[in-house]
Symmetry: C2
Subunit: 466 residues, 2 copies
């Protein structure tokens, strides 16, 4: 199955045909191509040969059919916030920018669901929902498109309570490699009708088809929400607090760990003046009484673990400031090294292994000369290292590679995964082999069954060459 990938040049005739059909919505300008040839990873830019901007599912069908006729790679593109080179045109081809497909097609308030075009972003959706009493909770930080989030099986800070995209996509409209349109799933809350194609395309990173519409679960805006922060003498104490909270069944909505390096960066970036020690940021959703009860329970647990400076607030502005700071942890870390770029690791382990995994990782980091911040969604056992490198310094890159390999090997040895929420993309192909062994050929077989000519996002997730 491991045939080498053969780069295939995109035919000029295809570009002509796309231009004839899409006019100014087909671009080959170097600036547009460069912009679409990178994401938020530190991989070198790999621009596509052209970028096309469809407005309807039928236009997507036309693009897929034209690309198929010319054997060209098709790269679905949201807003380029992926972290493993997902949108890089490492085999050339046509980038399909979904940003003009940004209509919210239906919001069914009574059913707590909605259907959106692929290019709608999560913030756009939540703004639209503001006055309905509902919201879409999945929040990876970046204002990604909802089809992009579905494609990488994204999650983020709210997953401990609301699940990931896996649990929250009810159905999809997809253009397949032969131009057929299929609808998977549906609007009923559950179904046992046939193979779960929805879950197959969620997390397929655009390698099996082009998602054009997404139906999503929505949730009632909580009657009350409160945020709490607490400092700890050690990371271990913070992690133990989280484990006990989950085990007690406290329905915490968010539960984030930031190590002292991250707090330092966040203080620099957001002027928060927090104590530079490991901290937990938590959020509670529920009735007024339940939110207070949850906060009290967590405070009691934290106190036993030596927690300090416990603060909590139900004020929207306090919560927004806090979570903005948390979401800015990634850019904030860039301040630790002027001109630096961050490489992010993304392991997730069974929560009982989290303290040990973090401790061993910290021990491993002791000898490094580059800034490395640790933060993440500890309620799920998922944490990131933001490794800040000078992309022109081979020593930095080597060091980052070593740290990344070590943390993945450690997580796998503990029954964890190489990626909790970022995906495989182009950067974690070897790790997928290490993690899933002989299940990987089954993924190849599925890729071959659905996209026999390897048209969709070549070189990502599976090495299969077609």
């Amino acid at each position: 199955m491991h045939k080498p990938e053969i780069p295939r040049a995109t035919s000029p005739a295809l570009i002509d045909a796309l231009r004839a059909r899409f006019g100014e919505r087909l671009s080959t300008s170097p600036a547009i191509r460069e912009h679409h040839g990178k994401d938020e990873s530190a991989f070198p830019i790999a621009p596509p040969d052209a970028v096309v901007f469809p407005e309807t599912t039928d236009e997507c069908v036309q693009i897929v059919k034209l690309c198929a006729a010319h054997d060209a790679n098709i790269i679905p593109y949201g807003v380029g916030t992926s972290l493993e080179g997902h949108v890089l045109a490492v085999h050339g081809g046509v980038c399909v920018d979904m940003s003009r497909m940004n209509n919210i097609l239906a919001v069914n308030v009574d059913d707590l669901d909605c259907t959106v075009q692929a290019g709608v972003t999560r913030k756009q959706l939540n703004l639209h929902l503001q006055h309905t009493g509902l919201f879409f909770p999945i929040d990876p930080g970046a204002d990604a498109t909802l089809a992009g989030m579905a494609s990488t099986r994204a999650s983020g800070t709210n997953a401990v309570r609301y699940g990931t995209m896996r649990e929250n996509v009810l159905g999809l409209t997809i253009v397949l490699a032969d131009g057929r349109i299929i609808k998977t799933g549906g609007r009923s809350r559950k179904s046992a009708a046939g193979y779960d194609l929805t879950r197959l395309f969620v997390g397929a990173e655009g390698t099996l088809g082009l998602i054009t519409e997404v139906t999503l679960r929505l949730y009632p805006q909580p009657e009350a929400a409160s945020a709490a922060i607490c400092a700890f003498p050690t990371i271990d104490a913070a992690v133990r607090t989280v484990i006990q909270t989950i085990q007690l069944g406290v329905p915490v909505a968010r539960c984030e760990l930031l190590d002292s390096v991250t707090i330092k960066a966040v203080n620099l970036h957001s002027k928060l003046g927090l104590r530079e020690s490991p901290m937990l940021f938590c959020e509670f959703h529920g009735s007024v009484a339940s939110v207070e009860e949850q906060a009290q329970t967590v405070q009691a647990i934290a106190k036993e673990q030596g927690g300090m400076d416990f603060e909590w607030s139900t004020k929207q502005e306090d919560r927004t400031r806090l979570w903005q700071a948390r979401h800015d942890a990634y850019p904030a870390c860039l301040r630790l090294k002027p001109g630096g770029r961050a490489m992010s690791t993304d392991v997730c382990v069974p929560i009982s292994k989290l303290a040990e995994c973090v401790a061993q990782t910290n021990a491993d980091l002791k000898g490094t000369t580059i800034p490395i911040a640790l933060f993440g969604h500890v309620g799920d056992g998922n944490f990131h290292l933001a490794i800040v490198v000078d992309p022109n310094n081979p020593h930095d890159l080597e060091e980052a590679e070593r740290v990344n390999h070590n943390v993945v090997a450690r997580a796998l040895s503990m029954g964890g995964t190489c990626t909790g929420e970022h995906g495989i993309g182009y950067g974690k192909l070897d790790f997928l082999d290490a993690e899933h062994g002989n299940a990987v050929p089954v993924m190849h077989a599925i890729k071959h069954a659905l996209d026999p000519r390897n048209l969709f996002n070549r070189g990502k997730v599976v090495r299969y060459a077609g």
Copy 2:
């Protein structure tokens, strides 16, 4: 793709080879074959040619390899509580009874997960968990095996709060058609590593491989639980109560509707003496305060809708009696017609359509001469009709067929599904086509990729002949 299925006789040489390997754990006795040739549906018995009882995954590999060498159909079997003929040997073959693979392999209390062999039943697991503070919530009523529940994507009364098997299977060990063993998923709470093979096998009804081990999410036993019942003047009023409860975000753990026919049957069966009008049975999980708050909220909503006789109890014995009565609704309905068998429908619709769907269904039932009870998991929009027929009376069977077709057509026209939790099996193949149209060939392509010779559970889910 719709090649007709060609029944293939099971070779005597295969039976000999299996007997040589498994001795008394291979049976061809008529009684054992008959027992394994039926489930809880009303379909005629279709016995397999032999039944084999493996004890390890490696023995399953040997069975699959032998069956493959002789081109024999392989039917995975749990306890035979499926409802759409899933385990019927409509193409002959070898039934693999997993009941001896009933070891609980690991319970990780700190991680809230466990790994069990395929033949462990849900009640066996929960008994084993009793003193750990954890439980496995998915409860389809029958004491099914956990691999069987995974295979049909089962859910039941707790799904409104805890999800279905889709959300609660973390990983699987599977023997593929060529005898390879793969492990899907893992023990971390979330992962974005490659295609979601776990979700592909969950709900595949044994047509893609033989599940031998299941890793499951567990939940903390709630600090407090309470049950509430309430009678309503109309089904519509009961359904409106449920819709408002869900929309308010009350985290109700169970929320079941029983119509007056069902209550009559349940009264007969369980001597409950309930008012013979539509009723809601609810359960709340949480802290002591939160459970009381939830019950009060639902009572207030119910009152506005004309709810009567609201009762609630936190006593374990009251709750057990109530839920036993609810779970006995299916056998209880059989009392409505001596010698009868029940056919069960299983539609699920967006909850906003539920009242309309139930009302139209009731109008459709007015003319019938056979007893039909309506009950179900209204919090999910899922309800069942138990149509009690004399299996020897062609008029009854025709009438049941008509009612079933009408309710499925109605649900599909409302954006719903033909099956919320029972699966397609052998009985709903036409409905799958009606519901998923051109997504069905994609399911065929996946079946062909993973089981090209159609060894696993022929004639179920997909018509593909191999």
